[in-house]
């Protein structure tokens, strides 16, 4: 049932954004997050939204896909909206009932937080749409490499992510197999309340974990057999190189970043 799951949400096509170095995309996404948090005036979000729209067009990822990435967040967004609606009490009181009080400040605050979250999710989704998980892992390893000096296990972390990515489809398939095996033995996985349902997961999880440990053991053996001995003296088959378009991307983003902050501080409204 889950054989063809796409890992992450990579959208396979050729575009300028796709061809950027994963390090560039990671750094710029991080910069974008900072920018979103620095914006304190609602109308400036229009610039961020325009930026996202331009990047989306350049990346050739359909708008509908970017919007769909918001779907899993809908309850969180709603929750944030409602919470902020009643939390902030400033400005004119529009409506009052029991302990709830709706103010203009509250509406402003709720809209502001929702926009912020929307833009955050769309921005980070765009990165995962245009970068394969494995490229992300490589980029992360390279970016975190300087931290190795203070003992941060950058290589180990990246290796763990790679192995996790490799084994997700295998374990999904296996859990599917175990579920069917338990169903065929008369296991009831559907009925009952939530606690009963959780309990009925035990006969699936236990074999799955045992198998995962066995796999881990065998994989470790196979990796050692192929001379794996950590990061020391290791070369890479795929070397990341910054190209001209990466520098252009940095430049463009820096312009957006600075102009948004300038607008925020210079404009009175």
């Amino acid at each position: 049932m889950m054989r063809d799951i796409t890992l992450g949400q990579y959208y396979n096509t050729d575009s300028v954004i796709h061809s950027l170095d994963p390090r560039t995309k990671l750094t710029l996404t991080f910069g974008y997050l900072i920018l979103i948090f620095l914006i304190s005036k609602m109308w400036l979000f229009a610039f961020a939204a325009a930026f996202i729209a331009v990047v989306t067009i350049l990346s050739k990822v359909p708008f509908s896909m970017v919007l769909r990435s918001l779907k899993p967040m809908r309850w969180l967004l709603l929750f944030m909206f409602v919470l902020n609606l009643f939390m902030s009490r400033s400005g004119e009181v529009l409506f009052k009932w029991w302990i709830f009080e709706l103010t203009t400040g509250g509406i402003r605050q709720a809209l502001f937080m929702t926009f912020r979250l929307l833009l955050l999710v769309m921005g980070t989704s765009l990165m995962t749409f245009t970068t394969t998980p494995i490229a992300l892992t490589d980029g992360l390893e390279k970016l975190l490499a300087p931290l190795k000096k203070i003992g941060f296990p950058a290589h180990e972390l990246a290796m763990m992510m790679t192995i996790a990515l490799r084994f997700i489809p295998i374990l999904l398939e296996e859990s599917d197999k175990i579920t069917k095996a338990q169903l065929s033995r008369g296991a009831d996985l559907e009925s009952g309340n939530i606690i009963k349902k959780a309990k009925s997961m035990v006969p699936i999880l236990v074999p799955l974990f045992i198998s995962a440990f066995r796999r881990a053991d065998e994989l470790a053996m196979a990796m050692e057999s192929r001379c794996y001995h950590g990061d020391e003296g290791r070369t890479r088959m795929r070397v990341l190189t910054l190209k001209k378009c990466d520098f252009t991307a940095f430049l463009v983003f820096a312009l957006v970043f600075v102009s948004v902050l300038l607008l925020q501080n210079l404009m009175a409204f």
Binding site: L7, P133, I134, T162, I163, L165, R166, P169, I170, E173, R215, E218, L219, M221, A222, M223, E224, S225, R226, C227, Y228, H229, G233, R234, T235, R236, M237, R238, V239
Partner: protein
């Protein structure tokens, strides 16, 4: 060329649950195909893991090209020279893209990038998997995955290739694919092959067969010698290869054919003249 010399090797499990290998002495000559057969728990996989320092002897010694596995300075050199392909193809492929996985060994050895790419291309070509270089391993068939695993070992340019029941989880087609590649590697690249297997018909293609039983080597000879006598092999919980069983039954029924025929071709040669006569 690599020669593996095993002297009085004994291996005791660390939890003292028993002796896995007892006083094994064996020399694996360069360029030969050696099959190690034996019942479950006979110690054949344990023996294989000693050949590239994955396990270290409790007593005795294993040397590869004169390098003792107990000396950890040699560990990486030994593992480069002696590659193992394991039973479960899923549990030995490390990354999510075929060509990157094949490059994993050379990366660990510190081979320069351009050479890794060259080696990966060669290795994938040797196992006829070049078309799948950019594929995801979980989309391949068992036989294909096992060929990728072989390519992963080949990219390290080893001198000895050990197949630790590498065909056990494959369908007949996948098994044949793997065997064809192994025999090709042996004849074209003069690669030494150690084949650990439960399938006697695979052992037939070897130059030499070793039978293991309860951690000891009980028989060592050419396939013809080892599979000459069914009752002796059965003592160790094994069966004769199918063609040898047929041969014995024919002889029992008074058909006059050579006692050492092992393959379809040999039986064919012996039987056709008889049919023409009658």
């Amino acid at each position: 060329m690599a020669e593996i010399v095993i002297k009085n090797l004994t291996y005791v499990y660390s939890d003292e649950s028993g002796v896995a290998l007892e006083d094994i002495s064996l020399t694996i000559n360069s360029g030969e195909i050696l099959a190690i057969v034996g019942h479950n728990g006979s110690g054949k996989s344990t023996l294989a893991k000693h050949m590239n320092a994955l396990l270290l002897p409790s007593s005795g010694s294993v040397t590869v090209d004169g390098m003792d596995t107990l000396n950890d300075e040699y560990t990486l050199d030994i593992r480069q020279k002696v590659g193992i392909v394991f039973q479960n193809p899923d549990n030995q492929i490390v990354t999510t893209v075929v060509e990157e996985d094949v490059g994993f060994g050379p990366e660990n050895m510190g081979v320069p990038t351009e050479e890794i790419i060259e080696r990966v291309g060669e290795a994938l070509k040797a196992v006829s998997m070049s078309d799948y270089a950019r594929s995801a391993p979980h989309m391949l068939s068992g036989g294909q995955k096992q060929r990728v695993a072989i390519a992963g070992v080949l990219a390290m340019r080893p001198e000895v290739l050990i197949l630790d029941e590498a065909t056990a989880m494959l369908d007949p087609k996948g098994r044949q694919e793997v065997l064809n590649i192994v025999t090709k590697l042996n004849s074209e690249l003069k690669m030494t092959v150690v084949m650990i297997t439960q399938y006697m018909e695979e052992a037939v293609i070897a130059d030499r067969v070793i039978v293991m039983h309860r951690g000891m080597i009980v028989k060592d000879g050419t396939p013809k010698e080892v599979f000459a006598n069914g009752s002796e092999i059965e003592k160790y919980g094994l069966e004769l290869p199918p063609m040898a069983q047929l041969r014995d039954e024919l002889i029992e029924n008074g058909v006059d054919i050579p006692k050492d025929a092992l393959t379809i071709e040999e039986l064919n040669e012996a039987l056709c003249p008889l049919l023409q006569k009658s």
